[in-house]
Symmetry: C2
Subunit: 198 residues, 2 copies
Amino acid sequence: MSASLLEQLIEAFRVLPGVGQKTAQRMAYHVLERERDGGRRLAEALGAAVERIGHCARCRDFSETALCATCASAARDTHSLCVVESPADRLAIEQATGYRGLYFVLQGRLSPLDGIGPRELGLDSLAARLAEGEVRELIIATNPTVEGEATAHYLAQLARQHGVRPSRLAHGVPLGGELEYVDRGTLSHAFGSRSEMP
Amino acid sequence: MSASLLEQLIEAFRVLPGVGQKTAQRMAYHVLERERDGGRRLAEALGAAVERIGHCARCRDFSETALCATCASAARDTHSLCVVESPADRLAIEQATGYRGLYFVLQGRLSPLDGIGPRELGLDSLAARLAEGEVRELIIATNPTVEGEATAHYLAQLARQHGVRPSRLAHGVPLGGELEYVDRGTLSHAFGSRSEMP
Ligand SMILES: [Zn+2]
Ligand SMILES: [Zn+2]
């Protein structure tokens, strides 16, 4: 006997982070009992998102269009480029700080053991961009983890090779923490008092 | 400017129980970064479920068909009918016990202040069923909360009016608890040592 629609739905919910069998059951029953309209909206939004959200050709952030709204904006400061590991980190900085420059989203961090090198992070296109001469400061906002620090050092070298000043967020971001989960105040302070990399 | 697909997706995830803004963001990014196929499957399963899962005409449980698989089965004992508040409670009993009888799902509990009376719980059709004479024992498995107990007493009266023996799950289910969250062993024990209602 093939799985019922309900069983398929419960199984499908488990794709979400932190959702096990029990939580998946609760989600399925909750939607069916009380939120059919919301469930329909979620199905449509999710279907559209996975089909139509790709990556910005310039900054690698999520985007529905070839160029994301930030990269396409004439109002951003093109002399500052902030490098982050993930779209969530980019969003956290955008929401917490008054930063008006541009971003570059690595979609990961250097991790040779996992086969993630400079090419997987798009660092060839980042190098080409630094070579254009428009960027003056490369704000390196990778996470303060071992791999994030290694990535930061690599990026700082890359910046210097192109005569661009590298800077790093100030201490204040807890060691071993993830930017995404840092409270706004701390993140805003750390961003504001970033220091040039030695 | 209208909301982007990403913003719509984050907002849509908030329909799920216990999911706030931050968790919704994490879910959206997780699916887009690492689980596009899983996201596609979830969108399809959810869309199909909200459109095609209705209620069984006989027991009121969720069902894709007019009669659910349990009610349609020739292998179940038609002399026992177990009344539960929700589909999740029905599932918990089915998974934890060796019960082979049938079910009736109230989809709620008596709550006059919220306008939920016997009619909203389908008790007219339950009464008609008890009048058929096939059911000998009505196992009342409402939750041990104030409203669940009030519902149980109402159901016990209804059973006696039709010459049907009402029984209640044994103590062992923690007071104030929800069946859905009781561990299998406790639930199985409580089910096995249910007592006739005084
Ligand atoms: Zn962009
Ligand atoms: Zn049924």
